[in-house]
Symmetry: C2
Subunit: 338 residues, 2 copies
Amino acid sequence: MAEAETPNRSPEIRKDKIHNRWVLFSPARSRRPSDFKAKSNPQPNNQTECPFCAGHEHECAPEIFRVPADSINDWKIRVIQNLYPAVSRELDFQNPVSLVGDVAVSGFGFHDVVIESPVHSVNLSDLSPAQVGEVLLACKKRIEQLRSCDYIKYVQVFKNHGASAGASMSHSHSQMIALPIVPPTVSARLDSMMEYYKQTGKCSLCDIQPNELLIAESAHFISLVPFAATFAFEIWIIPRDHSSHFNEIDSEKAVDLGGLLKLMLLKMSLQLNNPPFNLLIHTSPFQDDPSNAPSTHWFLQIAPHLSGVGGFEIATGCYINPVFPEDAAKLLRDVRIS
Amino acid sequence: MAEAETPNRSPEIRKDKIHNRWVLFSPARSRRPSDFKAKSNPQPNNQTECPFCAGHEHECAPEIFRVPADSINDWKIRVIQNLYPAVSRELDFQNPVSLVGDVAVSGFGFHDVVIESPVHSVNLSDLSPAQVGEVLLACKKRIEQLRSCDYIKYVQVFKNHGASAGASMSHSHSQMIALPIVPPTVSARLDSMMEYYKQTGKCSLCDIQPNELLIAESAHFISLVPFAATFAFEIWIIPRDHSSHFNEIDSEKAVDLGGLLKLMLLKMSLQLNNPPFNLLIHTSPFQDDPSNAPSTHWFLQIAPHLSGVGGFEIATGCYINPVFPEDAAKLLRDVRIS
Ligand SMILES: Nc1ncnc2c1ncn2[C@@H]1O[C@H](COP(=O)(O)OP(=O)(O)O[C@H]2O[C@H](CO)[C@@H](O)[C@H](O)[C@H]2O)[C@@H](O)[C@H]1O
Ligand SMILES: Nc1ncnc2c1ncn2[C@@H]1O[C@H](COP(=O)(O)OP(=O)(O)O[C@H]2O[C@H](CO)[C@@H](O)[C@H](O)[C@H]2O)[C@@H](O)[C@H]1O
């Protein structure tokens, strides 16, 4: 890609007034490395070159914490700063960048990376249920730290697996971006769930009747293909008990969720031949209006990328899914994990 | 991708009540061919195998019309049915598919393809301004035909160029999907433009001051990088005169737009080395509330695909753009077309 000359520009968050949505401008992002040779050839890079591997900690941006906390060479998880952040922890959020008649704020925020294993070749689904639970608890811990910053309104946890799901690094990791705005998809979700609550007196996720859409269940969670799945073979994992914020999860539930998440990743991988995917935690904003509490319910989404997205989806926000959710659920239910 | 067993299912449009958005389910789509060997290796297929080439008309789904209308072997443009439609013109829209407690309508609609040239190797930007104008007028003509169907609310015209922008066929073409719903992005845009109108008494696009974001101008149109561009090097082409519906365009303006569109495609292609892109026509719904007329203004969007989209964008609807619009506009302004 042609390099635009952006000498030391700070990131900025701008509002598109036509679509009423925000865009993050971050020149630093164009400098990040990619260890995928070509987007379509997701060969893991050589371990000796990967900064996320054990022994290469000094090649990374500063560490925030590690698990176990007192480990030296035997860490299991590291939460670090992103070296090419989309938002900057050094900016003054209260100092908006103003351009005549337009809306922009400085690109303040936190962008972190969760390294899920010290070993390059280990995937999230290779970990034990308890270890997946530990990754989830590391995300919880970091979210609770970020909550103490008054200007942060929402934290998005996301995982890109495979080059065509966006991953530029093949070593298993997730990311977290803490934002000074509530993103458009999140507001739309909260509004929509509130609408359901007003009409029925119930939370839309507590009220869900999975029936033929169910894939599996654990003590505290259910997994299903959503009725209007955006992606073919999309999976949601929903807590049985009503809870607005992911960071309300406790250790017992984290291990239980770890087991169900591992099972879903294995089933998906077997059925679809290790597809690229995104794993997303959908939670509620920090200083959420208490009146939203009865209608908001966090959940995990696994979105496999089997076909690309074209102009129609970009233009309309409508997705085209060639696989009916009932059929996807049946296939996933029937996958046997040996 | 694993084939789901969907024996002769009709397409269906379902509402995701959590996000308040629609998804099109169309099993037929999974059967469409791809002439790109791999998504990353966009080699045009052999002309002898391409159904969109002159001489292969019989391999296509039925024709709707051609340009010139009375041409036989010397057509310039063909508008045909899509052989693997995302929506079906044969369904009864009034007969909603009902699933207990959920929202779904039958996948009624029209899905057409505009073949922009009889010659396989000719791109839209290779055509003369008048010929690009004719492609635009063919879209206008088809939209006006679709308008006569009472159940159609919105027509999305879009072009996928290059495999990573979604194209499965390399022969130059655009598509049109006519829908019985107003898509979420369109409603959001109309609401947002109405809000601006209420606050200022002006149309947000008539009121735009491009300044350093301007790329070029023609008699009836201006082209610019939008202030909050979602994609790096994104371009909008906006009619100078207020007009809500693309299909209000006349022949003179179509040729003028053809010239500016061609120029933008050439500049983008030179600056970014023929990137994959989407070209989108953003217009207004058919039976639009007349009170929306002063605030709605159609425009074209060119969205180059320089980097993929990851989990953050899918989860939040916020995009990360590494290139500031002012820098992109300057680079594009300065590209010399010999
Ligand atoms: N013989 C024939 N006669 C008539 N029509 C024929 C035909 N052979 C093929 N077609 C149709 O031609 C179209 C070619 O379209 P594109 O190359 O722009 O992308 P496609 O629609 O496949 O998918 C891209 O665009 C859609 C919509 O944005 C995304 O859902 C998707 O993921 C992305 O790959 C296809 O829709 C296909 O059905
Ligand atoms: N030594 C080091 N120390 C610390 N951090 C390091 C590092 N080396 C690299 N990093 C960071 O590690 C991250 C790896 O992230 P991913 O592979 O999930 O995708 P990336 O964020 O590049 O982009 C994908 O996800 C984003 C967000 O969804 C999309 O905008 C984009 O198009 C898509 O490719 C990068 O953000 C990079 O900045």
